[in-house]
Amino acid sequence: MTAGAPAAARPVPARPGRWPTAGRLLRLELRNNAMLWMLPVAAALFWFTTYRKAMAMPPLWNLRAPSMQTGALLAFVFPVAGAAAWTGSREGRRHTTDLVTIAARPRWARLLAAWAATTCWAMAGYLGCVAVLYGVTAQQATWGGPLWWPAVVTAASLPALSALGFAAGTLVPSRFTPPLAAVGAFFVLALSTELINGSQSYWQISPLVTKPWDIGPDAGMATFYPYLPDLPLAQVMFLAGLTVAVLGALALPGGPGGTWLRRPAAAITVAGLLAAGTAVALAGAGRLDAHGMIAIPALHDAASDRPLRYTPACSHTRVPVCLNPAYAGYLPATAAALAPVLAEVAGLPGAPVRVSQAAATYRQGVGNSVSIGLAGPDISGRPPVFRLVLLDQLPGPTMTTSALAAALRSSAGPAIVADVIGGGRSPSPAQRAVIAALLIAAGQPVHGPSPSSPPAGREPGMAPPVPAPGSPAYAAARRFAALPASARRAWLARHLPALRAGQIALARLP
């Protein structure tokens, strides 16, 4: 050997790095994972199907958070299941199964690292999407805080979807497996909800379900009462059990270096299946509670039935209109819509001294139908308070503020007048005439609300009865409405008890 010859390379002893072996393996997998490529697709789908939809809703946590759970899950289902299947089928596709069999780590450990990397990227992308949506909502919402259970359920779904896709890719390592796993996951998740029938359906275990199925956006829940964690708990239990069972099953084939794992893996699989099965049984025991959420007796905490405490947002009008602070954005329009009618009846015996927003009450109907309305009379208490359910608390398309005000004018306005004048469902001709006269004086239409808009506090379509044009009652109403406001009030102040009792004939109206 000459002096100029290069020194022979000596093997460098392995130094313990900052990362343990499993951590280094995970880091390698993270750098080469297909889910990274899928994140832009998932984010784009989240924006298109979930973020835009949520931003079109009023800034209410109880509307946006459940909508986010369903939308985010559908946006992430195919990228996660597909990328996991792609990762799981890697060794088979690249024909490196024999090559990696001789590696020091058991097969299960290698597979778990690849699964964990896929799940980590999916979770990172999902949490980023949730952060944006919740951050924007936090800036816009007037009351309340983030509802975390919807975010948790979707977060628990991602490892399960990843595990299922990964297992499919491992079992059938083909280039066709990822698309079939992605389409299959979407199909099962999206269309399985077709099987839900009522609030006691086992299919409510689907992580897409946040409330009674098929009622659409529902702003009536989780504003006056807490967001019940019963169904989310069962869903998380199911998803965790499913994840554990599938990951445990991956170790069952054994292989070199992993035969000792079979028994613990079998135990893990059985435990996961038991947890998932128990969760399904719990979901099947659910029932729709009066506040619009699914309650599961075995998981229910009675403290969740207590109403939330809040300071209502009230208008500074003669008869204050008070709303839940979450709906404070609607207060000016609501107060303005009711002001003319309230001015007509304010100060009369039995007239409301305040209008207060009330919680909607839910009742399960046949199949997936749910009836929603106000329990009890519209006016109650001493001094009398008119209880109001905003139309946005009822299922249906989200309304603009002006549309909501118009609907309130034609539903709650007549209801307030009818409650003050009395007569119930079958008023006397004089009562009808006075109701119509006060509505005319307040600038209201006297034909009642349209059949499609449910009036507050009454059965849908039941408008306060008004006299037919051309009838004697209609003529009396026109005559009474034409009186000066002071004359109307003076007459009503003297005769309202008798009018309410139905003791005044039509001819006695001035």
């Binding site: 899928m38 697709v41 199907t49 195919f78 083909s174 066709f176 698309p179 979407f186 999206a190």
Partner: protein, 224 residues
């Protein structure tokens, strides 16, 4: 005996077939190309989608589910067509394969036609929302998306296009119930079968995908 004579004699002893004619060679080329792209497996996947659709149509679905159902199987078929663009041979094949663009074109066209026919046949006699015209438009459009994805992401991940579009299309269908409805023709699954704008959009995407995959092929790393 010369070296050539030795090799000829060895070939004769091994029982090699005599040199084939152009037709036989062409058929062999098609067969080898189809085998290298897993075309038989793709055909089986398309058949499975058609059978799945037929079985699903036998069930009872509400109007929303019934509209969404064919789209799922159309996306599955389009994804299966898109992934066959992945080449296991890579650069050597691209350099030496004179007929490769035509083979790619023919393979995609045949499989797309087969998928549309199979899915339309699966809906015969049942209530297939949108009918055969809808199937043809959706399969062609989503296959085009898959082919474009193959050119960008590689054949292995080309399924992301059709399957991602499935989610967008299903959402567009959902907005027909829970407005505001999305009516752009680029979301053709949500448009009626006879909508010309939607058909043109789907056709444009299919033509673009077909052109790109015929000329360039999929972007594929060797070994995938």
């Amino acid at each position: 005996m010369t070296a050539d004579g030795v090799s000829e004699a060895a070939a004769a002893r091994a029982g090699d077939p005599p040199p084939a004619g152009p037709l036989t060679a062409g058929l062999r080329l098609v067969r080898l190309h189809a085998a290298s792209r897993r075309v038989p497996a793709a055909a089986m996947a398309i058949a499975a989608c058609a059978i799945g659709l037929r079985i699903a149509l036998a069930g009872s679905w509400d109007s929303y589910g019934a509209l969404q159902l064919p789209l799922v199987f159309e996306a599955g078929s389009a994804a299966a067509i898109a992934v066959i663009t992945a080449s296991p041979l890579g650069e050597p094949e691209r350099v030496t394969g004179r007929w490769l663009p035509f083979l790619r074109l023919a393979t995609v066209l045949v499989l797309t036609a087969a998928a549309a026919a199979a899915l339309a046949a699966a809906g015969a006699g049942a209530h297939l929302a949108g009918g055969a015209l809808d199937v043809l438009r959706n399969v062609a459009g989503m296959t085009g998306l898959g082919l474009l994805c193959a050119a960008v992401l590689g054949g292995g991940l080309a399924w992301a296009g059709p399957v991602g579009y499935l989610v967008a299309g299903a959402y567009a269908l959902y907005t027909q119930w829970h407005g505001p409805a999305l009516t752009t023709p680029w979301l053709w699954p949500a448009r009626p079968p006879h909508d010309l704008g939607a058909a043109i959009c789907a056709g444009l995407v299919f033509a673009a995908g077909l052109a790109v995959i015929t000329i360039r092929g999929a972007r594929d790393p060797v070994g995938e």
